[in-house]
């Protein structure tokens, strides 16, 4: 089976920091892949490389077995394969354009007729619970939750085969963070998506991911099935990371929760 | 090597590069003047001998790179030539008047800093109060009135009507009191705009600093409010102010031209201005060179002072991109 994402010996250096150090990684199609690490671990850089926003200094990256060019040529090539929801969805909407104009751009890029793209957009809005009037608004006029859904809609309009979610729980209260995660889970089932979740939140990734990689100082210190990485880690760093994660211990305390 | 030393070395190198570039620009500006360079630069007084001398000196018959080299060698060695009108060494003419301008600009700077910081702090400590509003309106009025207009009205009121202060000149050399009385009005004229500007800047940045978390932290540890403002907040609030003082110096030198003309005060400004009127270009050129040198040096000083005030500045420059 060909990998959805296949990275070989990727290296990238910014000044004195080795952001990516010999990263080799395979993401199986239709998997949810968790990329975890602390700040400065290189997980965001790796995501940007996959999206074509950073150029590798050496190494290769293939999506569905097609080797990818670097830079803007690479972007045109991969834009139909991979899309992303950025950490701060409100900031990922161009501030001086209406939501509708931003979504129409997808049609332009795909060469799709305006009627067709708007019909798909309307259907997606309904599916995501966005009021139809949202298209007439500017990004600063909608709430953070709505911006997040608009960002999801824009990514899905491209019909990608891979969807990357960058820190989908960052800055959210626990009572609402599940909203986006559940949405991603449903979309994954509906659309045969390969999902990559980039996050520092080990607990969430542990539950949502089929496979995962742990990054530290530009290197992948451990990767494998999620059950193995999170419940039987081999690398010292992973063990340390998991040990430092606060535990609820409700079970030990005799919680009668379900 | 400590970050601050590295910073100073880097800023020094950058200042030298800028200076070299500025001299080059001056050369280019002169080269592109349409017409015969010798007759333009020497003006109507140019005799054939003078022209020949001039062509020899500038190396007008040589290649451009050689001319640039000669130009630099003269600029660096301080050989600015001899004034055709007085027959004096141009360097000594400039050094005669330069202290007057430096005193004027320095006094203007001190007045703006003293009043700007004081008024800014007063306004920031009672935001929204009557005194804040009054100072705000006064600051805008100060900023928007051009220095030369202020100079005329100061002259009109305090010298011509009230006869409190002398009208013109820089005062007798060697008489500090006389020189000081000649300095008051022109320096005030120079500083009015910057008092307004600095008062607003200090107010804004002090208010911003006072709303920051570390000030709240100091309050949480019971540090008295007066000490927080004077000791902890003010130093941080002065960083953006010092940063604009680089521009401030340039503005002082620029406005010194007008103020010197109005008060008929000997200085670089009047020297250049009179040289332009007499089409005495070697003096114009030398005068410009010296103002650039002064300006670049002041900017370097401002950068270093700011780096001493805020340790993050030296560090950020040394950090690899």
């Amino acid at each position: 089976m060909t990998a959805a994402i296949s990275i070989r010996d990727a290296k990238l250096r910014f000044g004195h920091t080795q952001a990516l150090d010999s990263v080799t990684l395979d993401v199986a199609p239709r998997d949810c892949f968790g990329l975890v690490g602390e700040s400065g671990s290189g997980k965001t850089t790796l995501m940007r490389v996959i999206l074509g926003l950073e150029r590798l200094q050496s190494g290769s990256i293939r999506l569905f077995d097609a080797p990818l060019k670097s830079g803007s040529a690479g972007i045109a090539q991969r834009t139909r394969l991979v899309q992303a929801i950025f950490q701060d969805p409100a900031a990922s909407l161009s501030p001086r354009r209406r939501i509708g104009q931003l979504l129409d751009e997808v049609g332009e890029v795909l060469g799709e007729a305006r009627d067709s793209i708007r019909a798909r957009q309307a259907a997606l809005f309904q599916r995501l619970g966005l009021p139809p009037g949202t298209v007439d608004k500017y990004p600063y006029q909608i709430s953070g939750g709505q911006a997040r859904r608009v960002a999801v809609a824009r990514a899905l309009l491209m019909n990608p085969r891979i969807l990357i979610a960058d820190e989908p729980t960052a800055g959210l209260d626990v009572s609402v963070q599940g909203d986006l995660l559940n949405l991603l889970q449903e979309l994954r089932a509906d659309r045969d998506l390969t999902l990559v979740v980039v996050s520092h939140n080990l607990a969430v990734v542990r539950l949502i991911a089929d496979a995962a990689a742990v990054m530290h100082r530009g290197r992948i210190v451990e990767q494998g099935p999620a059950a193995q990485v999170f419940d039987g880690p081999a690398a010292d760093y992973t063990k340390r990371l998991l040990a430092s994660w606060p535990r609820l211990r409700w079970h030990a305390l005799g919680s009668n929760l379900e | 090597m400590p970050a601050i030393v590295q910073f100073i070395v880097q800023r020094l190198a950058a200042a030298l590069l800028t200076l070299v570039g500025a001299i080059l620009l001056l050369f280019v500006i002169i080269q592109f003047v349409p017409g015969d360079l010798a007759s333009i630069l020497l003006g109507p007084r140019a005799t054939p001998e003078l022209r020949a001398q001039f062509a020899e000196r500038m190396g007008l018959d040589r290649s451009i790179p050689e001319q640039i080299f000669l130009f630099f060698r003269r600029a660096v060695s301080g050989d600015l030539g001899t004034d055709v009108v007085t027959g004096r060494d141009i360097l000594s003419i400039i050094l005669d008047v330069l202290p007057n301008t430096l005193q004027l600009a320095g006094a203007g700077l001190l007045i703006s800093l003293a009043f700007g910081i004081a008024l800014g702090c007063i306004a920031a400590l009672k935001p929204g109060s009557l005194i804040d509003t009054v100072l705000g309106v006064a600051s805008v009025a100060f900023i928007t009135t051009p220095a030369f207009v202020v100079a005329i009205f100061l002259l009109l009121i305090f010298s011509l009507k009230l006869h409190w202060l002398p009208v013109t000149g820089a005062g007798a050399p060697g008489d500090p009191l006389d020189r000081l009385s000649h300095l008051i009005l022109p320096a005030t004229a120079l500083s009015i705009g910057w008092i307004g500007y600095l008062a607003r800047l200090v107010r804004a940045s002090l208010l911003e600093v006072l709303s920051e978390q570390h000030v709240r932290m100091m309050r949480a540890y019971g540090v008295p409010e007066g000490r927080i403002v004077r000791h902890f907040a003010l130093r941080l609030a002065l960083v953006p102010m010092v940063a604009v003082m680089g521009i401030g110096v340039g503005d002082m030198i620029s406005n010194a031209v007008f103020v010197e003309i109005i008060f008929a005060r000997p200085g670089i400004g009047t020297l250049i201005y009179n040289a332009i009127l007499n089409r005495n270009f070697p003096i114009v050129q030398a005068g410009i060179l010296f103002t650039v040198l002064t300006y670049v040096t002041c900017n370097l000083l401002v950068d270093v002072i700011n780096a001493l005030l805020d340790p993050r500045i030296a560090r950020s420059l040394n950090k690899p991109a």
Partner: protein, 330 residues
């Protein structure tokens, strides 16, 4: 020392839309040498409680009632500057963002000695310096003599938060308030910083009010827990008791939403779903009648709209109370 107790604290904010009652009638107690975790989501008012105690609220805020009992003395929080004399002597605070809580143009030494000049004015410069160095060493900072001369930007976030803890250590307060001290930090650093906070408690035996949105942090490090929702305290008790049987539906829902690192994991990750609490926080200017949580509560009945629920002891456990009229039903 007999710990700290807050009673009937209420705070109003004047906003354009009207008066916003941000904190309403909150009573809390943290015993000596105990850590009380004050938990709540955004908009719960938990940070307002901390700032009200310290007397550091913004200008548009007003404490309308409340008292702080510290040892044998009581302070009326509604009076301006009620606790000003206690700051840096009997009370200290650690703030959320370590990158903003130290003044960037002053050295670490300047921060620490400033605290000492208030707390221990009898010390001379040399003694202050030594005390500052010892405090840094005590919070696990290597080579404190070098760190003292450094500036905040030269230190990592975790290191800066340790400096903040060292400042608190120098004060030896009766009550330490820590407002989300680890939210900006990575998990491994969070663990280290929390251990230092616990170490400080062990060393000086103070009461600690830990304000956090993380139930995990509370479960791991706190003795007692108090849960806030939309400006009200809905439940409090010992961590063990509340964890065993949360009485308030909001506390129960919040616990269920918390994703734990040791949660049972199904065989198929695709099947994982996450709990949420449907609905939004009530509009602060138009609060619902009766129970504050009833608009999002799945157990709400008609009475919930009429009765403002009083604190009810849960399960007959002393000290474990919840403000829900249906708490002991079943």
């Amino acid at each position: 020392m007999s710990g700290a107790a807050i009673s009937h604290l209420s705070v109003d904010f004047a906003t354009k839309g009207g008066i916003h009652h941000a904190v309403r009638d909150i009573s809390l107690a943290a015993g000596p040498g105990r850590i009380l975790g004050l938990v709540g989501e955004s908009g719960s008012g938990k940070s307002t409680v901390a700032l009200a105690l310290m007397g550091l609220l913004a200008g548009n805020a007003e404490v309308t009632s409340g008292a702080l009992q510290l040892g044998s003395e009581s302070y009326d929080l509604a009076r301006a500057q009620a606790t000003a004399a206690l700051r840096g002597i009997r009370m200290a605070m650690i703030f959320q963002d370590p990158f903003a809580s130290l003044n960037p143009v002053f050295s670490i030494r300047a921060h620490l000695t400033e605290v000492l000049s208030r707390r221990s004015p009898e010390l001379d410069g040399e003694a202050r310096n030594r005390a500052a160095m010892e405090a840094l060493a005590a919070v696990g900072i290597d080579r404190p003599e070098i760190r003292l001369a450094q500036y905040p930007h030269e230190l990592s976030g975790g290191m800066r938060q340790r400096v903040a803890i060292a400042m608190a250590l120098l004060v030896r307060p009766d009550l330490l308030i820590a407002d989300e001290p680890t939210t900006a930090l990575d998990a491994t650093v969070e663990a280290q910083v929390m251990q230092q906070i616990c170490g400080l408690r062990d060393r000086i035996g103070c009461s600690i009010l830990l304000i956090t949105h993380s139930l995990g942090l509370v479960a791991q490090y706190c003795d007692d827990i108090a849960v806030m929702y939309a400006g009200e305290l809905v439940e409090q008790g010992s961590v063990a008791a509340v964890a065993a049987k949360p009485g308030h539906p909001y506390a129960r829902a919040l616990l269920a939403c918390e994703v734990t690192i040791d949660a049972p994991r199904g065989a198929d990750a695709r099947a994982s779903r996450f709990r949420i609490i449907p609905g939004d926080l009530p509009d602060p200017l138009h609060l619902p009648s009766g129970c504050i949580f009833r608009t999002r509560c799945d157990m709400a009945i008609a009475d919930c709209a009429r009765i403002v629920p009083p604190p009810v002891t849960v399960n007959g456990e002393p000290g474990h109370v919840a403000r829900c009229i249906r708490v002991n039903e079943k």
